[in-house]
Structure formats: C-alpha cells, structure tokens
Amino acid sequence: MLILPATNLLVQRALRRCWAFVLASAMLGGLGALPNAAGSDLVMTEPQVKALCLLNFAKYISWPAEAFATTNAPIRIAIAGDERIHQELERAAKNKVISGRPVLVLDYEDGRVPENCHMLFIGATQKSRTQEILKAVSEKPTITVGDADDFADRGGVIMFVKRENKVRFEVNLKAARAAQLQISSRLLALADAVRGKE
C-alpha cells in the first residue's frame, strides 16, 4: 500500500482555507463589477454587438431620396434568420433616431422578403437561401448585411467577420454601388477590408 508522507497538515489546511477565500472573493467579484456595467470595456454578446453595429451602419449610409416616403419615414431594418439579433435590435432601436429618422424593425416571415426595407440582415438559419434573397433585393436600395463567410463573395454589401473575439466587418463597394447606395468613407475606414474600390 502506498503511504503518502505526512507534511505539515496544519499549514496545508490553513493555506487551503486562505486560497478558498481568495477564490470565493474572485468569483464574487461580479458584485464589484456590476456598477461599472455602463460605458466601460465590456464583455457583450455577439448578437448585441451585431445589432448595435446595424444601427451604426445606418448612420453612415445615404439612401436615394425615393427610398423614403416622407422626411421622417422610418428606416426599416429586417432581420432574416437570427432571432437573437432580432431581439437585441428591437431593444436597441426603441426610441432611437438615426439621421433624423426613427428605426423600425420588421418581422421577417420565412420565404417572403419584406418590401422596401432599407437594411436586410441575413443570418445563419437562412444561409442556404442567401443567393435567393440577395437576388430578390438586388433591384432595391437595400443594404444587405450578413455573417456567412462567403457573404461578400455572393454579393452582400457588408459582411461581419469575427476576429480575435471581436466583431469586425468587410464592405463590398461594388454591391453597394449596384444598390445605388452611398457609403461614407468613415465607415469604410473602420472596415477590416473594402472590396471593389476603384
């Protein structure tokens, strides 16, 4: 039988209690972190960040005048295929005003591309229908955003890419021009990559 040597048991126990206390306080550190929740370097969920990015993109895009019925017609954003981003966007867009317009988040019904939406996000569960959806909005001034890794290749305008745990994006200018949309150079400067620059 193996006999483990007797070390200084009292010291061992004391040390263990000490570390257990330190560990417990580290886990409870959540308490200390809560008040800091707003406005500092956070850890957020991916759908939260993407939803907020969509709102921000709208700030840097100019739609042709005909895209809006009146001067304060809302910016219509449709989310296809990502329930979480839909929920986060609804929450974030409440009472928001972008370039003088309110934001309206549309429900997307399976199989029907919403009419006259200014921004359309195509998510994971609709991935296999990407080509079909892009074709349906190709004649419209709709900014298409997606996170499939071949989204830009397929003609999407903005593609989310995750790098080192952060949400980044790439812009396909050719697709933007085809949709008659003007994208501010400030947005292009923040993109990780821009294709179709002349």
Partner: protein, 686 residues
Amino acid sequence: MKRARLPVFLSAVCLLLCAAFSVASADGVADFSLEELINIEVTSVGKKETRLHRAPAAIAVLTDEDLRTLGANTIPEALRAVPGVHVARISGNRWAVSARGMNDEYSNKLLVLMDGRSVYSPMFGGVHWNTPDLVLEDLDRIEVIRGPGATLWGANSVNGVINIISKSARETQGGLVSSSFGTEEQPSVSARYGGTLSSNFFYRVYTKYYNREGFDGASGNSMSDDWSLARGGLRMDWEPGDQNRFTLLGEYYGGVFGEQIGKIAIYPAPAFRNIGIEADASGGNLLGRWISHFSDESELSLQVYYDRYQREHAVGGGTLVASPNEFAPGQNHVTETRDTWDVDLQHRWHGLARHEFVWGAGFRTTRDYVDAGGAEVSWNPARTSQNLFNAFVQDEISIVENAFSVTIGSKIEHNDYTGFEFQPGGRLLWTPTEQQTVWASLARAVRNPTRLERDGRINIGAVPPMAPTDPAVIVTATPNRHADSETVIAYELGYRIEPSASLSFDVAGFYNDYELLANRVGGFSFQPTPVPHVVQDYGPKNGISGYTYGAELLSRWQVSPAWRLTASYTWWRSHFEVSPYSDVTNPEHQFNVRSTVSFGRGWEMHAAAYYVGSLGAVPQNSPGPVRIPAYLRGDLGLSWKLSDNFEFSVWGQNLFDGGHPEFGGYKSARFAEIPRSVFGKVTVRF
C-alpha cells in the same frame, strides 16, 4: 479536504445570492459608437451556434474564449472543464484522458483528431498528449462529443471524439508573439505571422517552443519528467470562388520528454532502480482538404494527409539476469517509427425533400517499424503495415420540419486485424420549442485491437524468490494473435434548454453495455534456463462484459454583461463481471465551476474550482490497488488588456494544496505530485 469545502460552499451560496440581485438589474444597452463596437470582446454564450443547439449528441465546445479564461497552457488541461471527460495528470508530461470511463494512460476508447488528422496511436492504443499542440491563440475550438461517434468518425471513438480545430488563416492575420514564464513554463514562446497573397489566399506561419519543468514525487524526489518541444508549421486557405475552398496544413516538431521507469533485475542479486529516460520524439505531417459546394444541395469534401513520426517509448519492467548495462537509459527504450497515409471523402446531399444524406469512404495505411533495442520488450513482427478501409452512410429524415427528425446510419470498416466491423447507429431529435431540444441515441461502436495486444511482449515485472529455494517469477504481458475488438452498445438521452440568451443548460445521460473487453488473464509456466524461474504471463483476452452509466450537466450563465459563470457536473458508475477491471479508474463525481469577471479598462479576473472524486488507479507494476484520494483544485487568473496589441496575464493554478497525485502510470510505481503552479504571460499583436 473537509476544511476547504466550507468556504467553497459559502461562496457558492453567495454566488447564487448576488446572481439573483444582478439578474434584476437592468441590462439596458448603452449607446456605443462603431469605433467602440468593433473593439468589444464578445462572449461565447451568445455565440452558441444553432447547429450545436440542435445536435442530437452530447456535445460540448471549448471556444478560444474558454481557453483564454481557463488559463490552460496545454490541450489536456483545457479539457478538465468539459463534463464527462476525466483528465488526470500522471506526470509533468503525461496525462490520462478519457470520456465516460475506462481512464488509462493509454485510453483506447477515445478518438482524438487535430484538424481532421487522427492523433490516436495504434501502437499502444491511446494519445500521447504531450505532443499534439498548436499556438493556442490560433485554436478556434475543441469539440468534445461524448458517446460513440462511430457512425461518422469510425473505430476507436467508442466513448467519444475530441475534435481540435484551428482557426482558418483568414482569421489569424497579422503577427502575434506570446510568451509565458513560471514554475512550470521555463519559458514557453509562440510566434505567428499571417498574411495574404491575394484577396482570397490566406496563410499563416508559426513556431512554438517550450521548456517545462517536471514534478516531484511524494518523497520530494524528482520524477525526471522535464520536457521540451519545438515545432513550426503553416496553414494556407484559398477560396478561388464561392464554391471551392482549399486548405493546407503542415508542421514539423521535435522534442524530448522525460520519463521515469522502474526496473528490477533478480540475478546476480535483486536490484531495483528508478531510471530517468529522456525519450525523443519528432515528426511531421501535411494535410490537404478541398471543400466544394456544388450547389445549395450538395457539398463534397476530400481530405488527404500524411503523418510521419519517430518516437522513443521508455519501457521498464523486470528481468531475470542483469546484463552489464541493464539500468542504462539506452537499454530501456523502444523506438517506434511510423508513416501514415489517409484519404477521406465525404459528400453531403439534401436534394431529396426532408432528407439530408451524408456518405463517405476512406482509406488509411499505416506502416511502422519498432526497434526494441535492449529493452524488456519484443515485437513480432517488428515491421507491419496495416490497412483500414471505411465507408459510411447516414440519412437525417425530417419528420416534422424543424421539430422532429430521425437520423440513421452506419459505418462499415475493414481492418487487417479483425476484418469487417459494422457500426450502426440511430438518433432522434425533437425540438418542442425554439429554446429546447430533446435527443436520444442508440449506437454500436468497436475498439480495434492495438499492436501491443497483438504483437507485443513485455516483461513487465519480476519478483525475487521469497526463500533461497524458491524460483523467481517474471511477469510478462504476452500478445494474443487473436485479440478481438471490444464492442459497446450505447444508449443515450439528452435535453438542452436556453431559457434566455444568457442562460443555458445541457444535460445528457448514458448507459453503455460493453462486451469483449480486453483483460489480461494469466497462466504460469516453469522455465529451467538460464536460471530456473516461473513465468507468469498475462495475455489479453476479450472476456469481460459489463456496463457503465452516468450523467453530465453543463450550464452557462451570462449573469451580467461583465460576469459569466459556467458550471459542470459529471456522474459515473460502473459494473463489471470481473473486478477490478478499470472500474476504479474514473471518479464517481466530478464538479467544476468557473467565473470570469470584467472590471473595465481591460481588466478581467478568472476563477475556477474543480472537484475530482477519489479513484483507485492500478498501474501495471504496483503490487495492488492504490487509492488516489479526491482533490479540490482552485485556479485564479488576472488578465489585463492594455490595448488591442498588448495583453498580460498572471495565473495561479492548483492553489489549494502543495501537491496531490492524480493517476498512476504504467512504468513506475511512484506517483507524481501535481504541485501548485504560477505563471505570467505576455501577448503582443502587431
């Protein structure tokens, strides 16, 4: 042990209390500019892919974020956080890792793949965990599937499959240098550079070196388990159009692993030594993969790889008459040289409504040469070439669109040892609501015999004569030319629920019915020369049957945007006809809880506590069952992200005690004490 439980229990209660408070607090989303948004770290709870949530299997994924918050420097250490997996560190550079039981230094019921390449060794039947490695910041995820993955992955995935997947070259652009230094890491350095050759051609090249200090045994004597390894490699991803994607991975490595073996010789006078061996290992591999989306309904993938390595294995044991160099390191290792070629084709087709077919075929050939030198082992034949053919087909039938589906399939293999093996399986998947998934599975899987069982003869020990007139006894593990495959029929049931975007629960239960488990049974024979002695030989016989059952729970909770908790619990019981076959090699209970808190300005604190129940691990040359007590482990880490380019972290691991054993290895009767360790890490990106 009992003393440490109270503070931990109290902290658990406090955790729950303040969690209750924080849930009530608003999670109103503040205004962020785009510049800020693209710099925010995203957590993995929200990232959980639909695919995983709907998988009809007990699957857990360790993301790159998980690895960073675990402070794991090696892959096996990261696996401690996965429910159903038992990770026991044998020494500084050896681990026993298993899923759902039967843990062993050579755990032969677990298949491990690195970017599609198998790292399971057919020689001893297990994984040398000190070798497969990569720049950990370039690791995308580790998928752990408990239960037979046989239908898609093949033989030896009896209890599970571990899939280690690296990021594509597109995701690892730019430069990265990372270095750690501490009680174990002395030091460890990784460097990687990723670039593009055109808008659709991405590459990265990397190198990694580490020099790690080994551990001591209970008596304070070194276990001679220092290790160091250098490796270099590259990855290229090319996407010429929307339809095709090509990937190439290659690496080369060389290292030295210290190991201590026990050796005994009887004549001229009984002598026992602990010998420190420095075992070399080097090798390289190249893998190419082509994935083609022919259409929205059809996807083909073709993979080819070549793997070559040369590895020394330390072998101790016992001998009757000591030769002049009996205890010299050179006399006590075996060199294995192996070349493996593998081709694998898979096609996914959903052209038929309600059906998704996956079928495939593959071929692997592996050639080895074993040079036994003067060690107490012989292989007959010393050179072999083994061919493995496999084909599989699987159909996922959607009975009710997005709500209920049935998957049936089977893999057929042919190997040189046991001929045809048939591994069918069926799964049910029911999604009553968006947030819930219920699944069930029934499958058969096999574990092919290893080269050791079929061809290897090892003198594992010797017992000196009790009295001068008694014979000495040499204990030998002998081969069995007819060693057969072990089989399991696995019944599984699981339930997953995500009550909100920030909370998820995943529970899985299983019952595994094993047949033809290999056990070594012995016989005695008397040998007159060179000195009269008795040989007690143990040959593998596939004669054991039995069953194991258990359950696993995994829960993730994003308590607030700044605080995430993860907890997992594993329960395992076994019942075998013949005891003590491996039924004491896994603990009955395992539990862990992890917390990551973000304080703002880039500061984060990570804490983890692990409880692993007691077990009696039976190394081959120990005189009897040895009980390894339960242990409680605590880790604490502090990380600081100064900017996008600089990150620092400090970690203390195994803080609760000065050293505890976790498992016994085959070659030495001594147990390494896993000590407290500390390290600091710097990561620079440019």
